[in-house]
């Protein structure tokens, strides 16, 4: 895994403006959230009381970006390997083929942590985000459960890519669900009731609800049992589903000889 992370870092480093773009761009998002928060007038008491709309936005935007990395990039990174022709050399190494393929995006998760802390830091230091009541342990548990659920979705997308050679048909869904239904920019209670049904079918909704509870209100794991339970259910369903789908997709490529095709 270390070799996969290191390779991702070295490739990212080889692009001179890559780090400037990633980190500066990440920090700029926080400025955008601050502007947006400034323009929003009346805020519900539940938000105003626990750090305000900016903190709400900061947690929603920053964690939605990090947690959905796997959904967006697991398949994309495999697609890159297919295009440059390194999939087959990876698959004949002594490393487990699934790890060699899925590990292609390992660096993005490591870099994502740096960007996440940078964004939270900028939000707290320069724009007065209030995380003073944060329960970090509860937040960590939510993050782990959410990552498992959302990366399982990413693995499903990668399985789709191995068979159909394009991951795009699922990507539009990811962006749409992330920014409209999951409560990144506004509480889902503001959505019409029939759209809220979609929100509650998505793991990111529970992840953001739990993270806001842990970081804005300092809620304990017991207080957060409802979103934690929901995430656990998603994990129990999505993890085996994703692993079976990926294994079958790999077997399919071996049967059809389509591993190196894209």
């Amino acid at each position: 895994m270390w070799a996969l992370i290191r390779r991702g870092f070295l490739i990212a480093k080889s692009y001179r403006l890559n780090f400037v773009g990633t980190y500066f761009g990440g920090a700029l998002y926080i400025f955008f959230y601050a502007l947006l928060a400034n323009f929003v007038g009346q805020q519900p008491a539940a938000i105003r009381e626990f750090g305000g709309y900016f903190t709400f936005l900061l947690i929603g935007g920053v964690f939605a970006r990090y947690l959905s990395l796997g959904m967006k990039f697991l398949a994309r990174e495999i697609e890159q390997e297919m295009v440059i022709g390194t999939v087959e050399p990876l698959m004949v190494t002594a490393t487990n083929p699934a790890l060699a393929l899925l590990g292609a995006s390992a660096w993005l998760f490591v870099e994502g942590i740096f960007v996440l802390f940078l964004q939270l830091g900028v939000g707290v230091i320069f724009f007065g985000a209030d995380l003073s009541r944060a329960n970090w342990l509860a937040a960590l548990v939510i993050i782990i459960l959410a990552l498992l659920a959302l990366n399982s979705w990413g693995i499903l997308s990668a399985a789709f890519l191995l068979i159909f050679k394009r991951a795009d048909p699922l990507n539009w869904l990811i962006d749409l669900t992330t920014y409209i239904f999951c409560g990144v920019y506004f509480p889902i209670a503001l959505l019409p009731w029939f759209l809220q049904i979609f929100s509650y079918l998505l793991p990111l909704t529970y992840a953001l609800e739990g993270l806001r509870g842990a970081l804005m209100r300092g809620q304990s794991l017991y207080d957060l049992r409802a979103p934690l339970f929901a995430l656990l259910i998603f994990d129990l369903v999505l993890i085996p589903l994703a692993l079976i789908a990926f294994r079958r997709a790999l077997a399919y490529t071996k049967r059809t000889g389509s591993l190196g095709q894209y």
Binding site: W2, A3, R6, R7, L10, I11, S14, Y15, I84, G85, T86, E88, P89, L90, M91, V92, T93, A94, T95, N96, A100, A251, K254, R255, T256, G257, L259
Partner: protein
């Protein structure tokens, strides 16, 4: 001597199309085996099944005594693979970094990685360019990287899909010497290579196989293959001067077929029951030609392989 590679009726089908059919072969450890065939004959499909990249439809295959389906992990740890695509590296990483990355994936112990990578870079004379980005490498350098990568974990068995493709003459010779003298003779590794190069087939390989339409047509030592694939006698004429329309002229001679003319040299097959040398000489002299040399041609592997591979374009 134990078996390095063994297949029994190994078959690969894609729907109704059969890419490899009932291939049975046994390659002992320490042998350099060459597989020859036209494009699409089934060479790469066979290699991909033996390296676990492709699942056989039926039949059995064992590499280093491990079943390629049931013990794919053990097979992958036992083999090094040189791909025909010499670009299968990360263009924005240096040659050294690429090799270090693949060494890690091949479970080369961390403390040995640097030494092993440096050793291979020197062996393939890539050390001067080791820290340049891979995307700046020439085709020959890329192909050397391809071979170096296959050797990183010191596997007992090497599969090489056209290993000298794109290399200049000196580099290709150096790789052949390395394969024959260092990898096979000194280190005792088994090499399974596919090639279009007849020199490699005849002078490099201990045994050869010719595959056509997915079937192994010929299999044995190069000399045995020569004896095995008996053809109609092949004759060669060398004229004092090139003769206009010599092909048309000689087609008139009874028993001559498969004529090939190049300058003053003509080769043809002859049906000995009706071919008469006297008739040939008469026709050439009547047309004003002079024969400098006449006799059976050295058939070598060229003609034999062309026949076995069913492909005129091949050799």
């Amino acid at each position: 001597m134990t078996t390095a590679i063994e297949t029994r009726a190994l078959t690969k089908c894609y729907g109704n199309a059969t890419a490899v059919q009932d291939v049975t072969l046994v390659i002992p450890h320490g042998e350099l085996f060459g597989l020859f065939g036209a494009n699409g004959a089934g060479k790469t499909t066979l290699i991909r099944m033996l390296t676990t990249l492709l699942a056989p439809t039926r039949g059995e295959a064992y590499v280093n005594s491990f079943d390629v389906v049931k013990h794919a992990d053990a097979v992958r740890a036992s083999v090094g693979m040189v791909f025909s695509n010499e670009n299968s590296f990360y263009g924005r990483l240096s040659g050294r970094e690429n090799l270090k990355f693949f060494a890690a994936l091949q479970n080369v112990p961390r403390q040995n990685v640097r030494v092993r990578v440096d050793e291979l870079l020197r062996m393939f004379t890539l050390d001067r360019h080791a820290d340049a980005m891979f995307q700046t490498y020439s085709t020959g350098m890329r192909q050397k990287m391809n071979v170096a990568r296959a050797l990183l974990h010191d596997p007992p068995i090497l599969f090489l899909d056209e290993p000298t493709k794109g290399m200049d003459v000196q580099t290709a010779d150096a790789v052949r010497v390395l394969l024959k003298q260092e990898i096979v003779a000194r280190q005792g590794k088994t090499v399974f290579l596919t090639t279009h190069d007849l020199y490699e087939m005849e002078h490099l390989c201990d045994r050869i196989g010719v595959i056509a339409h997915g079937e192994m047509r010929v299999f044995g030592r190069p000399r045995e293959v020569l004896n095995q694939a008996r053809r109609k006698p092949l004759y060669q004429i060398e004229l004092a001067q090139p003769l206009a329309e010599v092909t048309k002229l000689l087609e008139r001679v009874n028993g001559i077929r498969e004529l090939r003319a190049e300058g003053a040299r003509v080769e043809f097959e002859a049906d000995t029951e009706i071919f008469s040398e006297k008739e040939l000489w008469d026709v050439i002299y009547a047309a004003g030609g002079q024969i400098r040399k006449f006799g059976p041609a050295d058939q070598g592997l060229r003609a034999l392989l062309r026949d076995a591979a069913d492909d005129e374009q091949l050799v």
